[in-house]
Amino acid sequence: MLGRQNNQICDGVNISYINISKFKISRLSFTVFVPLSRETAAVNAVLFSTLERCCRKYPDFSSFNKKLEELYGANIYSSANKIGEAQALTISAVCINDNTTFDKSKVTMAVSELLSEIIFNPCLEGEKFREEDVLQAKRQVKETIQAEHNDKKIYAKRRCEELMFQDESFGISEYGKEEDVEKITAGDVFDAWENILGTAKIEIIALGDFDYNSVHKLFSDKFSEVKRQEVQKFSGVVKEGTGKVREFEDLSDVSQCKLVLGLRTGTKDEKHLFATKLMTALFGGTPTSKLFLNVREALSLCYYCSANFDRHKGVIFVESGIEQENMTRAKEEILKQLDEIKKGNFSDEELNETKMHLSQNLEKIEDSLTAIDGWYISQVLEKKVFSPQTYASLINSITKNEVIEAANNVKLDTIYCLLKKGV
């Protein structure tokens, strides 16, 4: 069991530490959570891309990165995620532990300080970030958005999300829109920085072998100089399905077409959430799931066909890559398999095997710092935080009837097809 130490630094800012001695590395992450909105998504993404470049102490890209290489190739990087209707922006630092270095140098503390420096002491020119840093950061974010078009699986899922949630903030990308990135100024980035430090919900997670008191003090000191205001509120929207299905398609010059189905689960309470998680795995989450065995193995229609549940938004996405002429057949088969679960056409054995598969995957989380970090970051906005073990035991307590009930609450909402041009 992971023992987690928790401290509030100030209103809306929390730091936690799990001391884990089995690893030779440690990890520190700093995540801000803000409501996802078209107005701010792009500038926030650009801000984090700007921050990861350098800091006042190491004021250019090379000197900052040289410092990291000297700290045994420590890595500091930013990432953007969507958690329900929140934009979560993280700067993570990973380094080897002090006792594994050649010279027993204090790498973990030096890296913690660097992480705090890039967040609290960035390179500014008055009330603006430096133009050249912002220009580079904007290019990075723009190219990240453009590159999504390179991977058709990611692209098709993104398009389905955009179209299905065009009236909800969940339809907004965690990187914002390319045209919004274009318009951002160095002054906008500064405003976003002040706003985030002042009003975002913030979670700092230290994992591994840190001198926690010092890390805690480091961030407490930094925040004592920040004027914190009222913390931004989040309102997660989980809509029930209406039963009305919308269909969308795009054309592209592809070898293989993509099919993405968006289904609403209307998740109501904790029990329902765990039942839906289990139901989705039975439906399309394992190599013995209904989708794998039928759409792939029995009909040989595709190489992949899988279902994933986003518990924060109460939505299941089914994704597959198929021939254009098999589109309808695949769609019908996928929905038929969901109906089978709705009717209870699955054995206790199948259900138990799925539970075992999920439990083992949850247990594995403890063997990776990245996985532990992600696990806790994804629950910061939740009312209740589960450890992987508790989560597993709750999944294991779900009955067959609860799975059937969860399946019967699932409603197809959106069908998205990426089709071949000129066919």
Binding site: K22, K24, I25, F61, S62, N65, K66, L68, E69, E70, L71, Y72, G73, A74, V94, C95, I96, T100, F102, Q136, R139, Q140, E143, T144, I145, Q146, A147, E148, H149, N150, K152, K153, S252, D253, V254, S255, Q256, P287, T288, F292, E297, S300, C302, Y303, Y304, G321, I322, E323, E353, M356, H357, S359, Q360, N361, E363, K364, D367, S368, L369, K421
Partner: protein, 425 residues
């Protein structure tokens, strides 16, 4: 009980065990204290480049391309059922892959490890190919091939290899083509299985929460002894020159990507630990975010931080160094890289750069000792390349600037470089 040979890294407090089993199988066991999970990989020294081979009984045989990969898919199906069904009963997550020179079957789990290991050993040693089950797979593999045809990262890589190599089969797609796989039959699959899936040609690497005695007993009980191994790889002569300097493909994508590859002179030669350390340090000084080349490429808007990378690749009969990523101007990016390489050929690497690159490489490798999957995979790769993972880490500590600077003279020859570009239509 077989005597296990212990390999240790005293400075890091790490150890693993090796034994050459009487059946011929190389076994590596890396117990990790306090870990919840385990990871096992059983691999064969056989991949897509082995479509032509020689055995004592049959002489030279040639088979359709893509067969190693097809075989990997088909091994999961046995007479009594599918291996995935057996894994479902133990709760493990299983997978497999085929590369140019390896085929590997793996699983990870946090419970019932011995049962899952039995499943792995059983299905890899029990081929069962019928007209019907081979036919069934064709549609699935065709879709896998088509999925890769839309993947620009994969296309840019395959195109680069086809530009660099005139004869070596790395220029051919690992999974074959939708056309070539139509020729695959149960007979071909049995023939290739018989030629290469021999315990003398395989390694089993396990890392994680395991008891070595119990694990050895399970392995011992489940191995089927193979006949003597006499299969020889047949690779064509490959001239040193590249086939062509440039290759371009258009795809419906958002941003152009490129790879610049340097063909290395390495017929039938595998780098040892020290060579590999030298190459890695040279590549770090060129492509680390702290390097002048990286900064220049970034400031000129020629690369981005999320995609630029470089790798050293090695399979029998070839090795290459490849730089690449997304770029709005691949030609200029390639020019900058070639220029910087010219510079280090003339000036060598400075002591300052050498020092940080060495520390960074060490840190990266210590980082790799923390995940059971990367440990088992490193052991597997090292096993097939005759390298030892702790010796590699020690070489990082011991390597000198002179070693590195003399290595530079033999690698990254501009005249042996080729550029591959995939751009939006």
């Amino acid at each position: 009980m077989m005597r296990l040979k212990e390999f240790t890294s005293e400075s890091l407090g790490e150890k693993y065990f090796f034994v050459k089993h009487p059946s011929g199988l190389n076994i590596y066991l890396y117990p990790k204290k306090n870990y919840k999970s385990s990871y096992a990989i059983l691999g064969v020294n056989y991949g897509s480049i082995d479509a032509k081979f020689k055995t004592k009984s049959k002489g030279i045989t040639e088979v359709p391309s893509g067969i190693a990969h097809y075989l990997e898919h088909k091994l999961f199906e046995g007479e009594k059922g599918d291996a995935f069904e057996s894994y479902a009963k133990t709760g493990a997550s299983a997978n497999a892959y085929t590369s140019f020179d390896k085929t590997a079957y793996l699983f990870s789990c946090s419970d019932k490890f011995q049962e899952s290991l039995e499943v792995l050993l059983d299905f890899v040693q029990s081929p069962y190919f019928t007209e019907k089950n081979v036919e069934k797979e064709r549609g699935i593999i065709a879709q896998e091939i088509k999925m890769y045809e839309d993947n620009p990262d994969w296309c840019v890589y395959c195109n680069l290899l086809s530009a660099m190599y005139k004869n070596h089969p790395v220029k051919l797609n690992i999974a074959g083509t939708v056309e070539s796989i139509t020729q695959i039959t149960p007979e071909y699959l049995y023939e290739c299985y018989g030629a290469f899936y021999n315990l003398n040609n395989m390694s089993l690497c396990i890392a994680g929460n395991i008891d070595t005695d119990e694990t050895m007993a399970t392995i011992d009980k489940n191995l089927k002894y193979s006949k003597a191994f006499d299969t020889e790889r047949i690779l064509p002569e490959e001239p040193l020159e590249i086939a062509k300097k440039e290759i371009i493909q258009n795809l419906d994508i958002g941003s152009p990507i490129f790879q610049l590859g340097f063909k290395e002179n390495s017929n039938n030669y595998k780098a040892n630990e020290k060579d590999l350390v030298c190459i890695s340090i040279i590549l770090k000084t060129l492509t680390s975010k702290a390097s002048p080349m990286y900064e220049k490429l970034l400031n000129l808007g020629l690369i981005n931080t999320s995609s630029f990378d470089c790798e050293y690749m090695e399979t029998p009969g070839m090795s290459a160094i490849i730089f690449g990523g997304e770029s709005n101007d691949p030609y200029r990016a390639a020019d900058v890289i070639r220029d910087e390489i010219e510079k280090i050929h003339i000036n060598g690497i400075s002591e300052e750069k050498f020092n940080w690159a060495k520390k960074a490489l060490y840190g990266e490798n210590v980082g790799g000792l923390n995940s059971v999957s990367s440990l088992a995979n490193s052991l597997f790769n090292a096993s097939l390349s005759n390298r030892e993972i702790f010796k590699y880490i020690n070489s990082i500590c011991e390597v000198s600037l002179d070693d590195v600077n003399s290595k530079i003279q033999n690698i990254l020859k501009t005249e042996l470089s080729a550029l591959s570009i995939v751009k939006p239509q």
